[in-house]
């Protein structure tokens, strides 16, 4: 047994430690960001140059899927660092702590993606969640941020307890916490599922749905998203969500696939409720952060269709969705940050006339979020619906596409503001800072590229 598969994590931890030491002396935001991006890039290179394999008795597994998930986490980390660079709500003296927490939570996500043991998974999720609680409440002087952090923390703890409870129940039945072994035991058990199996599986499902911000366990997320500093909201809506949904997919695909009757109906309910609540609540939002928060709930709902499929194809579709969503959503947040009064719908009035390029970028990202070709968002939805139809859940896919029509309405609402409203509200062109421009150009480029040449991902 060699230690090679875990090298990316080791490299990343090492760079974080170095970063921690250097951060005591360096207070310049530019240097800190460059250091963070470099360590993330280095880790990305390591991810794809290290061999696959399993370690610690199968507790840690590095395979193609987990590698790709790690790539998504690093894409979201790099983009989030880029858009945070000039964000004023993060004050200079705390910028180091802020970036450090982001990197630590990314490390936790990498561990989640590779955990193939329920206890390791639990610990990694807690590791990530602790970073996220702190980040949510990061604006110490902002009452809303404090409230959001506290709310997230208290409710998140409840979910953690539920997760632990579920793990205990499964351990009680199978006598192991190894995901693969659990799957084998359930597979060989030909009789009716044990009633405690229902308790355990559903508790795990609920806890993970909670962490992913899925309805009906979503109540914490709009408040947390709105209260958190905008850059944290952007980060939170992609990385942690990807990690939790990836974990959910792995656990249900590997461990609980043998008895789908235990969880399929509950998952269908959660997926449909998530799409419904996310989309319906987003319709009336005037606050863009809140709108994107609800829309990210809705997107989690679509991704659950991929998990529902219970196949490798389904898991891949979740991964592809997440990768595309990382570009779309972080791009949209970069534009929100670049606009004065960008948190409110009124800030977008007549944007096309003052900042045409920003407006066109936002147009592309919004149409992509709505899932209209030829942009990447369509490919994401297409793959997920394809997995669901292949698994025989055609009617759930139909419900899903109908909700995606609803989502077009609120994305178009922003487009209407930017392009169709001609009366000027006296807004002047805003100079977009270099870091945000880079982030916007990168995301728009990838959204177009993946949309036109999907073979780069598929």
């Amino acid at each position: 047994m060699s230690a090679y598969p875990i090298i990316p994590e080791i490299v990343f931890s090492t760079t974080i430690v170095i970063y921690f030491c250097l951060g005591l002396f360096i207070k310049n935001r530019n240097y800190l960001t460059v250091l963070g991006v470099c360590s993330s890039l280095l880790t990305t290179v390591m991810i794809f140059s290290s061999p696959m394999g399993s370690l610690f008795g199968g507790m840690f597994v590095s395979d193609a899927l987990s590698q790709s998930f790690k790539l998504v986490f690093h894409i979201s980390l790099i983009l989030s660092l880029l858009i945070s660079l000039r964000y004023e709500a993060i004050r200079d003296e705390y910028f180091f702590d802020y970036t450090l927490l982001m990197m630590l939570s990314t490390l936790a996500m990498m561990l989640i993606a590779s955990s193939r043991d329920l206890i390791a998974l639990f610990l990694s999720i807690e590791f990530m969640a602790l970073c996220m609680y702190t980040l949510t409440g990061f604006s110490r002087c902002d009452l809303r941020s404090n409230e959001a952090g506290l709310k997230y923390y208290i409710l998140g703890t409840l979910a953690s307890v539920t997760l632990l409870f579920g793990i205990t129940a499964i351990y009680g039945i199978t006598g192991t916490t190894d995901i693969k072994a659990i799957g084998a035991i359930f597979y060989n058990n030909s009789g009716e599922p044990n009633p405690y199996q229902y308790v355990g599986v559903l508790a795990i499902l609920i806890a993970l749905a909670f962490k992913a911000g899925a309805a009906p366990f979503h109540q914490w997320s709009p408040d947390a998203y709105e209260g958190a500093p905008t850059t944290v909201t952007a980060f939170m809506s992609v990385g942690p969500k990807a990690a939790v949904l990836g974990a959910m997919g792995t656990v249900f695909y590997v461990a609980f696939k043998a008895d789908p009757e235990v969880w399929v109906n509950a998952l269908i309910f959660i997926a449909i409720a998530t799409m419904a609540i996310g989309n319906i609540m987003a319709l009336r939002q005037e606050n863009i952060k809140r709108l994107l928060a609800y829309s990210s709930i809705a997107h989690a709902g679509y991704m659950m269709l991929g998990i529902l499929a219970g196949s490798l194809e389904g898991l891949q579709s979740v991964l592809i969705y997440m990768m595309i969503y990382a570009f779309m959503n972080l791009g949209a947040f970069a534009i929100v940050l670049s606009i004065k009064d960008g948190e409110h719908l009124r800030g977008y009035t007549g944007l096309w006339h003052t900042n045409p390029y920003t407006a066109i970028g936002m147009l592309i990202l919004l149409f992509s979020l709505a899932g209209i070709p030829p942009f990447a968002g369509f490919i994401a939805k297409f793959k997920v619906f394809m997995a669901a139809v292949h698994a025989g859940y055609t009617w759930v896919a139909v419900v899903g596409v109908l909700f995606s029509v609803l989502s077009a309405y609120y994305y178009l609402k922003i487009v209407v503001r930017m392009f169709f409203v001609t009366e000027q509200l006296g807004i002047r062109p805003v100079a977009v800072s270099a870091n945000l421009s880079i982030a916007i150009i990168l995301t728009v480029f990838f959204v177009c590229l993946i949309g036109i040449a999907p073979s780069v991902l598929l």
Binding site: V389, V398, S455
Partner: protein
């Protein structure tokens, strides 16, 4: 054909957009857009001269791998059903550029870019031989149209634009699920010919028919789903209305011909009567509503509902005569209604009103305009000698071959059609000259005459020589009918 002519015709307009981007001078932008649409038109001509009318097979086929991992190909090709629409699109696009010459004065570059992108998407739809590719073009069309209506439209444009997108999207996402189901049932391919060659279980055919119907019926639009059309037509700029009436509505009917009929033949036969009833309802209801309109553009928009009813009536007759009439009527409607919308645009540029009560007595002030308007009105009524007469005649004789009780009320639609067009003519052209607009009127200029002349020629050409356009589609339609009866299932691999 040695070179990929279909791809060239499809993407030439988009290439034009790249040329437009660095330009600032408005008139230069207009000329470049004109050059590219004209170029596309001339490049598209060899398709007709080299088209082999004696075969139903797809011609000018190009095929490249696009997303190999899920079997998506970039595959283009045309047959007798789609060939004429390419010419229609390339002609109308040139006219759209001309008709907007003076009407569009702000954001000119963006406007012409949208027109050119639209042209690419429209031609792409008719050429696509891969369902995924078809869907991409189908949906991609939404974005430029949304912007065309929303940015350059009139007062109520935002409502109309959003309604247009939501209606179309709701229909097409159901089609997407249909396409995905088809993919798995048809052996993991999106190739249209392969998928057409399979006889699906009848339950699946029903579901597929419904999924496709949702998309196509919205686009056509068929009777209960037509409410987006008057708003979109009325609010869109003239070029937008011409594209909508000329090509966009045809795409729905084309979808029925290309997918619903060959892929769900048994379900189509079972549902033939309800479909025909819906068509007749659209004809009669559309005509009655048209009578009531007081807005020039809205009136013509509702008359489109009625005219497209004839198209679907012909298609769902499911016999050679009806299908030929349906396709011919699609072309005719594109020409005639496009022409009428252009006439409205020409006069609106002078008067800036669409209310019919502001009009009257144009005959005394603008005789040249009235000459052309009269020709187009008569063509819209379906006077013998014009193209619509042939189309409507074929449709009705096709429908009468099936069921007198269903076809007979359609005659009422023709009568009502005459009534509203003649009454409209009376209100606009005859009567005393209306003082509110008198000072603004001047007759057509050379540019305006040039842009309506091709349509006049087409109207009389098809009206007098219908065998020429019909000869393009005959073989393909015969094959389609055989295919529906479970006959030949051969295609070009």
């Amino acid at each position: 054909m040695q070179y990929p002519i279909l791809s060239l015709v499809t993407f030439l307009p988009t290439l034009g957009v790249l040329f437009l981007i660095p330009l600032r001078n408005h008139s230069l932008i207009r000329y470049i857009a004109l050059v590219f649409t004209l170029l596309t038109f001339f490049v598209s001509l060899p398709i007709y001269t080299n088209f082999d009318r004696s075969t139903h097979l797809f011609q000018f086929v190009e095929s490249y791998q696009w997303v190999p991992s899920i079997g998506i190909n970039y595959k283009m090709g045309i047959d007798g059903i789609s060939v004429l629409f390419i010419l229609l699109t390339t002609i109308l696009s040139v006219l759209c550029v001309l008709v907007s010459w003076k009407a569009i004065s702000h954001k000119v570059k963006e406007f012409y870019s949208m027109i050119l992108v639209m042209e690419t998407a429209m031609i792409g739809i008719f050429c696509a031989m891969d369902l995924f590719l078809f869907y991409i073009f189908w949906e991609a069309m939404l974005i430029p149209m949304f912007l065309l209506i929303g940015i350059w439209g009139s007062s109520n444009r935002v409502y109309a634009a959003v309604k247009f997108v939501l209606f179309t999207l709701a229909g097409s996402v159901l089609m997407l699920i249909g396409i995905i189901s088809l993919y798995f049932l048809g052996g993991r391919t999106f190739d249209i010919i392969t998928l057409q060659g399979i006889r699906y279980p009848i339950e699946f055919q029903y579901w597929l028919f419904f999924a496709f119907f949702a998309a196509f019926a919205v686009k056509v639009p068929m009777f209960p789903l037509h409410t987006w059309l008057p708003d979109a037509h009325t609010e869109a700029p003239t070029a937008g209305s011409v594209i909508l009436a000329g090509v966009l509505l045809k795409i729905g009917a084309y979808g029925f011909l290309r997918f619903s009929l060959p892929m769900c033949p048994d379900a189509t036969k079972e549902l033939m009567v309800p479909m025909q009833v819906l068509s007749v309802l659209a004809i009669v209801y559309g005509a009655f509503v048209t009578l009531m309109q007081t807005d020039f553009k809205r009136l013509i928009a509702y008359s489109s509902v009625s005219h497209m009813g004839f198209v679907t009536l012909g298609i769902f007759s499911l016999n050679q005569t009806g299908l030929q009439g349906g396709i011919l009527q699609m072309i005719n409607h594109g020409i005639v209604t496009g022409a009428v919308f252009m006439c409205i645009g020409i006069i609106y540029e002078r008067t800036h009103t669409r209310r019919l009560e502001d009009y009257g007595g144009l005959a005394k002030v603008v005789p040249v305009y009235v000459l052309f308007y009269t020709i187009f009105s008569l063509a819209a009524i379906g006077l013998p000698g014009t193209n619509s007469f042939i189309g409507e005649f074929l449709v009705l004789s096709g429908a009468f071959q099936n069921d007198y009780a269903i076809a007979a009320p359609a005659i009422l639609g023709i009568m009502l059609g005459t009534a509203y067009m003649v009454w409209l003519y009376y209100r606009v052209v005859l009567r005393e000259v209306n003082p509110t607009i008198k000072g603004h009127l001047y007759d057509m200029q050379l540019r305006e005459v040039i842009m309506v002349i091709p349509l006049v020629i087409l109207i009389f050409y098809i009206g007098i020589q219908p065998s020429v356009p019909l000869s393009f589609m005959q073989t393909s339609i015969r094959h389609l009918i055989l295919q529906m009866d479970g006959g030949m299932l051969i295609g070009l691999r």
